[in-house]
Amino acid sequence: MPELSSDFYDFFGLERKLNLDEAELQRRFYELSRQWHPDRFSRKSAPEQAQALEATAILNDGYRTLRNPVRRAEYLLKEEGFPIGEQRSKDVPPELLEEVFELNMMLEELKGGDDSARPQLETAKQNFLGLREGVDREIETLFSKYDAAESQSETAKQALHEIRGVLNRRRYIENLLRDVNRALDPIDAAAEPIDERL
């Protein structure tokens, strides 16, 4: 039985770049699924079945991670020794301090039954969406910077360091957006979208 790599880039046979050709990623996902899916091993031995299950789990986890730019970057950061801590994303980025303060007041008002805060919240939402767009453009630039640099070089490390900072800020904005959305439209959490996309 062939050795399996649990590294997502290796498993897909892709270079460790942050910008990926999504069509190519999908093509490989389908191809590897045909090769490894447990349905193909139903008449094989128990060890072969176990390996197929293992391989498909890596494949599916990897596809889920790599096809989403934010998760892909978080994965690469972790692999390269720049893990994103939970705590860091809770620190308010200094440039957002004032907005967060105002937002919390508005959220309190709305919760207290004061609907006049609604238009302001709509404005805040647009503001955050704009901020996220800016962050996403920043991330794209940094992705290209990392991809252009020699692997393990100082430039690459510097790029990863910056990406980590920007991703933390992005996560913070995402959380604010979620709070605003919940306040504006208190839908069942079951219907809340799960995939944060760039």
């Binding site: 349905d39 789990a57 986890d61 889920r64 219907a191 799960i194």
Partner: protein, 617 residues
């Protein structure tokens, strides 16, 4: 006389069947060279009603005979048991009122149904239906069937899936794969032959509702998202009509029919008949003749649609959520496929067409399409179908309980399965030996709003100061959508033992015990039959010997011969009431041998007697 051993060859693999284990009806199908085919029962019927009854001589019967018993012996008969699979007693308080059968007192995490003086769990009841399907398949195929693909609602949780798998094992079937019903249906439709595209499968059955959105690409069926309600189906429409009819009867007859189990079942049949008629006719009657009384009520389609509109609306909410998760708009759905008997209702078709802005496919019989798809999946597993591959998802997010009763999500809903997540755990107290992990399924943030799946007890943790132990736990959802948990001590690398305590459903030990019991029962039944057969044979030979002892031939035997026959008779009589058919057969054989000469002599005498008086010229 010699016997022949016919050898069909060792490497001939038996067929894998596809089974649709439905709330109301079940079907079994198999992949033939020409495509999937539904297997008829010996009477030529395709549908086996998912009804099980305990007969007066304590045998479980399923299907058509049980359907008849539902009318005459309702308190010993179970229907719609799929609604109870993998659920606890507190989950079903509402619907249990409508069932004629009773729930046993000691039901807790597993519901136990009381039929006569015996109790059965939902997997045991489902196993009776599966056994019937297995028997039908074996009769039609002329070979033993031991492997199956069984379909489940896409929105079934882990416990409901596990219960279905348990039912398969109890029925003597190895369940090679659980397939989601809407995905199975998409396989049967063969839409992949036309083009690549995005399809939605709207599956509204007897007791469950599912919606799945798939991308088709060169034979790969990739599920993008799924949603549903495992407690929403045609049953709900029946119950609505039943309530109205019961109220009518109360005022017309001055009688509460709801306390009369047989009356309720006859009325249920009448309202189901009316419901089905209204899919084709603008108007019909609910018509019940019972114990010399008659109830008739005209119902037209307009009224019917007004009544069921809220139920139909309840199916649209999961559809919208599913579109959101798939990140698609209704306009991006190329085709819509309709599955399940309830999609025959014109209002349902209209609602789906309005939502997806596409005319839904209804070419295949909505009752059969899931079983046909299960057979295609069986063909994929057997290696007979190579161009198709199903990539399905887990319908519910999986998480663990963390501080303050909050759920931390590990695997999100709509992740392609198999899917996995690894999490590290440590101890909170010096020398702690056990770590308990509570796993839940659901989308909400608090433990109390999610479905408890199981508690995993990591045992024999090396005693260390608090916080030093590091145990890596891997949560793996397999291709059946069932969770497997393994753990490893990250310091030593050695496997950590895990004890699983499922919150709902049977433990592995309980299933094993039930299988053993059913084997023992089967063996017991077999032994009993063999003993009974041997006694019949003993009766025959003893009677023949007694008769022979009065004949002339008996007198002609030597005293030795007479002695040995008499002792063989005594020996057989001694073991006659024993329970070992081997001993019985041995003694029968001994008497047979002892009387051989006697029999020959009698035969010769008979021949001579017959010849006497015959004139030979």
């Amino acid at each position: 006389m010699g016997t022949f051993q016919i050898d069909f060859g060792e490497n001939r693999t038996s067929k894998i069947v596809g089974i649709d284990l439905g709330t109301t009806n079940s079907l079994v199908a198999v992949m033939e060279l020409t495509g999937p085919e539904i297997i008829d029962d010996p009477e030529g019927r395709k549908i086996v009603p998912s009804i099980v009854s305990l007969t007066d001589d304590n045998k479980l019967v399923a299907g058509e005979p049980a359907r008849e018993l539902l009318l005459t012996r309702p308190e010993r008969t179970v229907y719609s048991v799929k609604r109870l699979m993998g659920r606890g007693v507190q989950d079903i308080q509402q619907e249990i009122k409508l069932f004629p059968f009773r729930v046993a007192e000691d039901s807790e995490s597993v519901i136990k149904l009381k039929l006569g003086n015996r109790t059965f769990t939902p997997p045991e009841i489902s196993a009776a239906v599966l056994r019937q399907l297995k028997d039908n398949a074996e009769a039609a195929l002329g070979e033993p069937v031991s492997e199956a693909v069984i379909t489940v609602p896409a929105y079934f949780n882990d416990a409901q899936r596990q219960a279905t798998k348990d039912a398969g094992r109890l029925a003597g079937l190895e369940v090679l794969r659980l397939v989601n019903e809407p995905t199975a249906a998409s396989l049967a439709y063969g839409l992949d032959k036309r083009k690549d595209g995005v399809i939605a499968v709207y599956d509204f059955g007897g007791g469950t509702f599912d919606i799945s959105i798939l991308r088709l690409h060169e034979g790969i069926f990739e599920v993008l998202a799924t949603n549903g309600d495992t407690h929403l189906g045609g049953d709900d429409i029946d119950n609505l009509l039943l309530h109205i009819a019961l109220e009518d009867i109360q005022s017309e007859w001055g009688q509460d029919l709801s306390t009369d189990a047989e009356g309720v079942q006859r009325l249920r049949r009448a309202v189901v008949h009316a419901k089905e008629q209204l899919s084709f006719l603008p108007e019909t009657n609910i018509d019940l003749a019972y114990k010399g009384k008659r109830y008739q009520r005209a119902i037209d389609r307009e009224l019917f649609e007004r009544l069921i509109a809220p139920i139909v609306e309840r199916t649209l909410e999961p559809c919208r959520a599913c579109l959101l998760d798939a990140k698609l708009t209704p306009e991006q759905i190329d085709e819509v496929v309709m599955v399940g008997g309830s999609t025959r209702i014109p209002l349902v078709r209209a609602a789906v067409e309005r939502l997806f802005k596409a005319k839904p496919h209804t070419e295949l019989n909505p009752d059969e399409v899931v079983a046909l798809g299960a057979a295609v999946q069986a063909g994929i597993l057997a290696g007979n179908v190579e161009d198709k591959l199903l990539l399905d998802v887990t319908p519910l997010s999986l998480g663990i309980e963390t501080m303050g009763g909050v759920v931390s999500k590990l695997i999100h809903r709509n992740s392609t399965i198999p899917a996995s997540a690894t999490e590290s755990f440590t101890t909170a107290v010096d020398g702690q030996r056990n770590v308990l992990i509570h796993v839940l399924q659901g989308e909400r943030e608090l433990v109390k709003d999610c479905r408890s799946l199981a508690r995993f007890d990591l045992k024999d943790v090396d005693p260390l100061p608090a916080g030093l132990a590091r145990i890596e736990v891997r949560f793996l959802i397999d291709a059946n959508g069932i969770l497997n948990v393994t753990a490893r001590d990250a310091r030593t690398g050695k496997e950590q033992s895990v004890e699983v305590k499922p919150s709902y459903g049977l433990t592995e030990d309980q299933v094993e015990a039930m299988i053993r019991e059913s084997f023992e029962k089967a063996e017991e039944d077999m032994r009993e039959r063999q003993v009974r057969e041997a006694r019949v044979e003993a009766d025959n030979i003893l009677a023949a010997t007694a008769k022979a002892q009065k004949s002339d031939a008996w007198a002609a035997l030597s005293s030795d011969e007479r002695g040995s026959i008499e002792s063989a008779v005594r020996e057989l009589q001694t073991v006659y009431n024993g329970n070992d058919h081997h001993v019985l057969n041995e003694k029968i054989e001994a008497l047979n041998r002892a009387t051989q000469h006697l029999a020959e002599t009698m035969m010769n005498t008979a021949v001579r007697g017959a010849l006497k008086g015959t004139k030979i010229d």
